[in-house]
Symmetry: C2
Subunit: 234 residues, 2 copies
């Protein structure tokens, strides 16, 4: 068997929300790559799966991907991470790159994936889907994402008010990711559209700090978590 | 502990794509409710999890929900199903209602959920999220759903061409569910928009019959599967 990279979605936080396939691969891969936001920071993905890992026979390789708005200079971190992964796969060792949520939905892995497609096309990559924070947040809040003919929009960041107005008009369910920095503006827009009672804010879903908040008004002016999202269902 | 209903997403087809939580609940629930499309049809959800079930100590309760365009008369099936489930929960038995994909994303369970909210508000319902066919299809095709600032739209059925044109203009990734009946019209629209090489058709993801097709033209005029979707990524 040729060695490969597995991009493994480990779900939003609860270790029970790992798939059985993810658990099997994490238990057996020779190398576990765990992204962190800073050299001195713990990897959230790693904390979800650490019970599955045996450091006496598996290498745990933390990789730093600084989180910042300014993307400049980040390429160097990705290039170095890709080279580290590629060296291990070419030496015949399977690498599991763990990522919270689903690897193909706004994950850390996607930057690495692009580099592998462009520069290491000989190295096989298998994507192992995971429970995304969107599905987990909807479940925790008891708010269905969509049934029958309902249309769903997912916006990773917040756009101009006019674009948002159009999206709210065209879609039945709108999911705003990473809403933390612009919540007050979004809340004002929801009020203008008469939707302020149609939203639910979910933070740190699947973790011990999970919170589901229907009373959006009380979040105005608060400092909000990075790991949070807003589901608005008309 | 009060008995409850668990709505358990069992993923798109591969038993390994069940979460560990779903597996635990299916192993332990006193009753497993399995939806089928017709009285003489097998339950696809049940086929995914049957290895986990012990009929000597668990009741397997198939429930028929006819699949048809005309919704009239379906309410009676849902009412009967809800009453069967409610009777078991009130007798102190946990019920796991299994559903393919994720329970809150276009699932069979959502009709039952509405009935429970309206008519059995005393019965607790816990939603156990599952891997949706969308995440699994993207993984199988190697096509990321969205990264960075990309916007995603999910359309459960197909709309008027003008609405579709607008959605393709506004979003980076468009997922068309249940595209089977209108594929030829959609393909013509994609050609008009110059997007016919930007789509991937995935059928029966996670099953032995899984197929990933990038050459959309060869599907024109074909009879297509109900369990299929189209991801268009600009």
């Amino acid at each position: 068997m040729t060695a490969k990279i597995y991009a493994v979605g480990v779900g939003p936080g609860d270790p029970e929300l790992l798939t059985r396939k993810a658990a099997r691969i994490i238990r057996s891969a020779a190398v576990i790559c765990a992204p962190t936001g800073a050299a001195d920071a713990a990897s959230y993905a790693l904390s979800i799966v650490e019970d599955l890992i045996d450091p006496s026979r598996q290498e745990v390789l933390p990789q730093v991907f600084p989180m910042r708005k300014d993307q400049e200079g980040l390429e160097a971190f990705w290039d170095e991470a890709a080279a580290q992964v590629a060296a291990r796969v070419r030496a015949g060792r399977d690498v599991a790159f763990i990522t919270i949520g689903d690897p193909f939905l706004y994950s850390t892995f996607l930057y690495l994936y692009r580099i592998f497609q462009e520069r290491y096309p000989d190295i096989p990559v298998e994507i192992v889907p995971g429970i995304s924070s969107i599905n987990a947040a909807a479940a925790a809040a008891g708010v269905p994402l969509g049934m029958a003919a309902e249309r769903i929009a997912i916006l990773p960041t917040t756009y101009e008010d006019d674009e948002l107005r159009r999206t709210f008009a065209d879609f039945d369910t709108v999911i705003l990711m990473k809403v933390n920095r612009v919540f007050d503006r979004i809340y004002a827009l929801l009020k203008e559209l008469g939707l302020e009672r149609k939203g639910v804010f979910v933070r740190r879903v699947g973790s011990a700090d999970e919170e589901v908040i229907f009373d959006l008004e009380r979040l105005v002016g608060e400092k909000l978590d990075y790991l949070s999202l807003l589901i608005v269902k008309k």
